[in-house]
Amino acid sequence: MSQLATETRAENVSGEEQPLLQVRDLEVGFETQRGVVSAVRGVDLTLYAGQTLAIVGESGSGKTTTAQSIIDLLPRNGKVTAGQILFEGRDLTTLPPAAIEDVRGRLIGYVPQDPMSNLNPVWSIGFQVEEAIKANNVAQGKEARLRTIQVLKDAGLSDAADRLKQYPHQFSGGMRQRVLIGIGLSAKPKLLIADEPTSALDVTVQRQILDHLATLTRDYGTSVLFITHDLGLAAERAEQLVVMYKGKVVESGPSQEILANPQHPYTQRLVSAAPSLASRRIQSAKHADADDPQIYAGGSTDDTLIARAAEREQAAPAKALISVENVTKMYKIRQQGFRSEKLLAVNDVSFGVQKGTTTALVGESGSGKSTVAKLILQLESITSGRIEFDGQNVAGLKGAELLKFRRRVQPVFQDPYGTLDPQYNVGNTIAEPLLAHKVGTKKERQARVLELLDQVSMPSATRFRYPGELSGGQRQRIAVARALALKPDVLVLDEAVSALDVLVQGQVLNLLTELQTELDLTYLFITHDLAVVRLIADNVCVMQRGRIVEAASTDEVFDNPKEQYTQELLAAIPGGDFEFGR
C-alpha cells in the first residue's frame, strides 16, 4: 500500500496528484439522552503529502471531532454518520476494526493535547514508547529498545537512555509532550494528527517543541494536520487552513491568504479578535453592542484614542496606589526524610501600580506571578518586604482593618469553572460580598445586583441562573460583577481570561476596559500571554523564577525589549510578527 502511494506521487509530478488525505462531506453525531447531536456537519478538507494543514476554531466547533474521526478515536457515543475519509485513496470509514488498528500509528500518527493525562501513569516511559514501536512492527526485541532510545532522542530528550525506566510523573509537561511526539512519530507515519500539541505549555517551550516537530516531519516527509485555536500558530506553521464554526467549514484555503484577507464574517471576527504583537491597547470606545452579531473590531486602531491613553499615562500621579517593595516569599517544601527544601517563590520583587491604570505581571509557569497576586490579596503572608496600599502597610492586617482592605481590593480568578460556587445562583453569588460587609438592606442589595449584571452586560434574568448553566465567558463576567459589588479600587485579575476562547476573551477584555474608564478602576493583570498584555496593559513587569527581570511601559517592552528573556518571550509568540488582516 505504502509503496503504491509513493509511486503514484512520483508518477504524477506533471499530472493529477492524488491527495494524501481527503475528507468529503463528513458528518459525525453523538448519541445523547436527547437524541443524536451532530457535531460535524459536512466537512471537506484536502491534504497533500508533505503539506501542513491547520484546522482552527473555538471550543465546540468540531475541529477535534473531525480529527479524531479520521482514525476512529471518537468517544464511544460518537459515530461517523455520513461522508468519506479517503487516505491514499482508501476510505477509512469503511475499514474493519483490525484494518484501522493497522493504519493507526504506522500510517497515521497522533499527538494529543494534554501531556499530563495522555501517558499512562503506571507504566514507564520506555515501556510506552517501545509498545508503540513493537505494535507497528518498526522493530522487535532488542532492536526495539534501541529504537525507543533513538525515537526519544529525536524528540529532543538527550538523556533518553537513562530515563527509560522513569514514570510520567517524574517528567515535566514539556518533556511529556516530547515523549508523546516521539510516540506519534515513532513509525515515521505519512500523516501526523497533532491536536493542540502545545497549548498546555509555556510559550518558550512551545516554540522549541513546534520547531522540533517541524524539523522531524520535514525529515520524514510526514504531512501534519494541526488542530489549534491559535491563529498565530496557524499562520506561522501551516500552508493550508480550514476554519470551522459550529461543525461546519466556513472558510478554507492557503492560510496566509485567508488570515491576511479573511472573507467570511466569522473568520473576520476571529482574525480581528486574535491578539498579536501588532495589536494595540483596547480603548474604551463604548462599542454599540458587545453582542453585535456582525463584525466588531476587537483591537481598535483609533489613533486619537491611543494618543489620549498616552496623555493619561504621562499625567498619572507619581504616588502609586499599590506599591510592592522588596517583597520575598519563601516556601518550605517537605522532601523525603526529614529534610525540607526552601523554595524562593518570589524573590525581592518591587513595583508600583498607578491609580486608574493596568499593570500586567507576565511570566511562565513557576515564575511566581500568581504568588505575588496572593500576597497582595493578603491570602498568603510575605516572608520579607513591604506591601503598601493607598499609603498604608497592609502586611499582617487583621480584623476590621483587613475587612476594610478586602473591600477595596478584589480578585478575579482564572478557572471559570471553579470560580463560582455551583450551589449558589448568580444573584446570591453577586450579593455575597454585600452581605459579608453588611451593606444595605435586602432590597438595596437586590437593586445593586441588577445594576452589576447590567454593568457586565448580562440580562437581569441571569440572577436566577446557576453557574452550571453559564458558559466560561459568562461565568467570568459574573465573577467580575461579584468583584465589583463593593465598589473596590483595585481588581487583581489572575489569568482571568486565559481559559477563554479568543472571541469571548476579546469580549471580556473590552468589558474590563470599559469598566476601568467608567469606574476609574486599577487593574493588576496576571497572565502568561504576552499578546493579551498588549491589548489591556499600560505597564508590564516581566517575571522569571521569582524575580522581575524587566519593568516598563507596555510599548517600551514590546517595541524595545531590553532583557534577553523578554526578547525570547516575544519571539516565542506564534505568528507574533504576522500582520493579520483586520
Partner: protein, 309 residues
Amino acid sequence: MLWYTGKRLLQTIPVFFGATFLIYFMVFSLPGDPIAALFGDHPPAPAVIDQIRAEYNLDKPFIVQYFLYVGGLLTGDLGTTFSGRPVIDVMVKAFPITFRLAMLALAFEAIAGILVGLISGLRKGKWFDSSALVVSLLLISVPTFVIGFVFQLVFGIQLGWARTTVSGDAPWGELVLPAIVLATTSFAYIVRLTRASVADNLNADFVRTATAKGLSRRRVVTVHVLRNSLVPVVTFLGVDVGSLMVGAIVTEGIFNINGVGGTLYRAINLGEGPTVVSFVAVMVIIFMLANLLVDLLYAALDPRIRYAK
C-alpha cells in the same frame, strides 16, 4: 520503594499500640467489674476468678496492666481457655485452616470479581452489565450467615453435593463451599468497584492515546484499562481482609470448621470472654499486617505512590 516501606512500617507502630490499647481499655476500664462482665450469665468458680485476676494483672495500675498485656500479646502469652489449654496453642492449630479458607475466598472473589467487573465495565449499559449490577446488589444485601444457611440447605442437604460440616483437618475440597459463602459479599463489591473503574479508565485520555498508537483492542484493554483498574481493587482488598475475618467467624461457625473463626464463634457462644478478647486482639494484629502488605502491593502497582515523598 524502600523509603515507602519504611514509612509505612513506622506508621503501623502507633496504630498497633492504639488499637490494642482500645481493646484493653474497652474490656478492663469500663465501669463495673470486668470479670463479671466478661463472663456474663455464667460466673465461674471463685478460684478461676482469682486466677484470671492474676493473669490479667488486675491488681496493678491500669497502664502497667496494659503494657503487661501487650507484652503477653507479643510473646505469645495469651492466657488459657476454660478447658485449660493455652490460647496460643489453640490459635496455632486453628490458624492454618482459616488461612487456607481465607486464601480460597480471596482467590475466588478477586478472580471472579475482576472478571465479571471487567466485562461489565466494557459493556456498560448492556444486558450483561445490568444483570451483573442487579446480582451484585442482591448479594450485598443478603447477610453472610443467611447465604451460609441457604448454601448448606441447597448444596449440602437438598442436592447433597457437599458436606454440611467440614471435618477436623479441613481438606481443601471441603473448604470450597464455605469459601464461596465467605467470598460472596466481597465478590459483589469487587464487581462494582472494577466495573466503575474500568468504565472510568475507558474514557481516560491515555487509553485513547494507546489506541492511537496502533495497539490492538485486546492489548489496550489488558495493558492499559485493566492494569490501571486493579489499583483501587487492591486497595479494597486491604479493607476487605477485615470483613473476611468477621465473615470467617460466621462461616466457620455455620460449617463447624475448626479454624480461628470457628473457635471464636464457640467461645462467644459459651461466654468465654477472655478467650474472645485474646482472639480478637490477634485478629486485629493480623488485619494490620494484611493491610501493611496490601499497601505495599498498592505501591508496587502505582509508581506515583512508590515515589511519593
